[in-house]
Symmetry: C2
Subunit: 244 residues, 2 copies
DNA sequence: GGCGACGTTCCATATAGTAGAACAGCCACA
DNA sequence: TGTGGCTGTTCTACTATATGGAACGTCGCC
């Protein structure tokens, strides 16, 4: 099943995750592969432009992966549909507005519009977090048809074990479903208030979420209450733009 | 030389460049490869998470490439060093500020801060353009030690043939070198005024450029003149932050 | 000066990818 | 309602291609 390709991709992933250039030996031990093998694979990755070889014989990922990735993101339906309405929402609040998509057990941070007073602590675009631990993830989970089963599966999958029980999660999801939006909790990052609404596709299945987050002191409960309607209408507009 | 890996990467590039999902046959003919081969390769790309198979048997690139690419970009030295000073520059002007890096014969658009009145026509982050055709590319070319040779090579490489002669380019570069910055031209995109300064690494070699661009009507010659000093100091600051 | 760890090169072996043919499903046109 | 031509997919014998151990040259450190 194309083990060579698979190995090359794994190698590329390792390099993209490494904060510093890596040598052949380190990569070889990490992949449990002979040095000569890794060396040749690195050679082809270099000749394809995905990896750069530094003068001291170490290797690092080039920007080619990023360039390809940006082409993909540029065409992303969710982002294209959401970006205008996010701008509008950004105009109403002064906090950080984030676009999130579900991806496996996690939610993936697609786009972020930083507040004028930027929120340094928050997760940035391109990162991911367990769905159970974020309001964005929760608001999406709440609106799946099989919400309860899915919640249990995701809850069991997350490690380390969350600081709350499964029952708490399930009742939270129920509340979210009733309200139509999710709020605060600050389970994921302490000191931060946040709220999120769900974006649904044509078939009513959650395909994304818009979240607003700010520091507890500035982004008070009152301000959040004022934002409920703008947030919900933004989400509704995006859902409609997607054909829902 | 790991032809399988090379082929898989080419396939991935094709998919990232395609605006719509593609079928096996189309990919096979484009790569001049047997269908069965492409089919198996697509299978491993899917199992690795880089490609998604749609229900109608067509394939499209997933966001995994983008996710990896964002990890690389997050660590990018140039971007990390420049972003704060770009923000400062953005505060002075109301136009679009762009960070550019040289990459082969092209310049690659690393980061873009949109103006309050956004400039829709300009090239976006993740895209690339021939160095000869942009002020950002020109300001970097002008400050290489072998500027003249490099200019000739890049001039000959670009197609279609530029609407200006090599002599014009060389004299332009000379002017740029004397001024310390590049201005306007609007060779690449008509109706747009633009200016750029160069960012140099520790060894004095150009490693990037900062460009400011706006519509001819709003971003007048006078406004550009006022921006020369802020732009140059921003570039100098970034160069210094890089150890230059 | 020599030990150890590094990146790199080489080459016989067999494994893993190749390519063609055959299959099954779909759609369009007659 | 066929039928022809297009999909994507499966299968298999073949051989070209990746494999991995051993040997090489080089650097830095004790």
């Amino acid at each position: 099943m194309d083990s060579t390709l698979l190995k090359g991709l794994t190698l590329l992933e390792l390099l993209t995750q490494s904060p510093v250039p890596v040598g052949v030996s380190a990569l070889a031990t990490k992949l449990a592969l002979p040095k000569s093998n890794v060396h040749r694979t690195l050679g082809t990755l270099v000749s394809a432009g995905y990896v750069r070889r530094l003068e001291n014989g170490t290797y690092e990922a080039s920007l080619k992966v990023w360039e390809l990735g940006m082409q993909v993101m540029k065409r992303n339906q969710l982002r294209r549909a959401a970006i205008a309405f996010m701008h509008a929402l950004q105009g109403v609040t002064t906090e950080t507005v984030t676009l999130v998509a579900p991806d496996g057990d996690d939610c993936l941070y697609i786009h972020q519009m930083e507040a004028s007073a930027p929120l340094r602590i928050s997760t940035a675009a391109g990162e991911r977090a367990p769905a159970v631990m974020t309001i964005s993830g929760r608001v999406m989970m709440a609106f799946y048809a099989d919400a309860a089963q899915r919640a249990q599966r995701l809850y069991d999958a997350v490690s380390p074990r969350p600081p709350f029980g499964l029952e708490t999660l399930l009742s939270d999801l129920k509340t979210i479903r009733q309200n139509g939006y999710a709020m605060s909790g600050s389970h994921w990052r302490p000191g931060i208030n946040s709220m999120a609404g769900v974006i649904c596709g044509p078939d009513g299945v959650p395909v994304g979420a818009i979240a607003v987050a700010g520091s507890k002191e500035r982004f008070t409960d009152e301000k959040m209450q004022e934002l409920v309607q703008p947030l919900l209408s933004a989400c509704a507009n995006v859902s409609r733009a997607l054909g829902g």
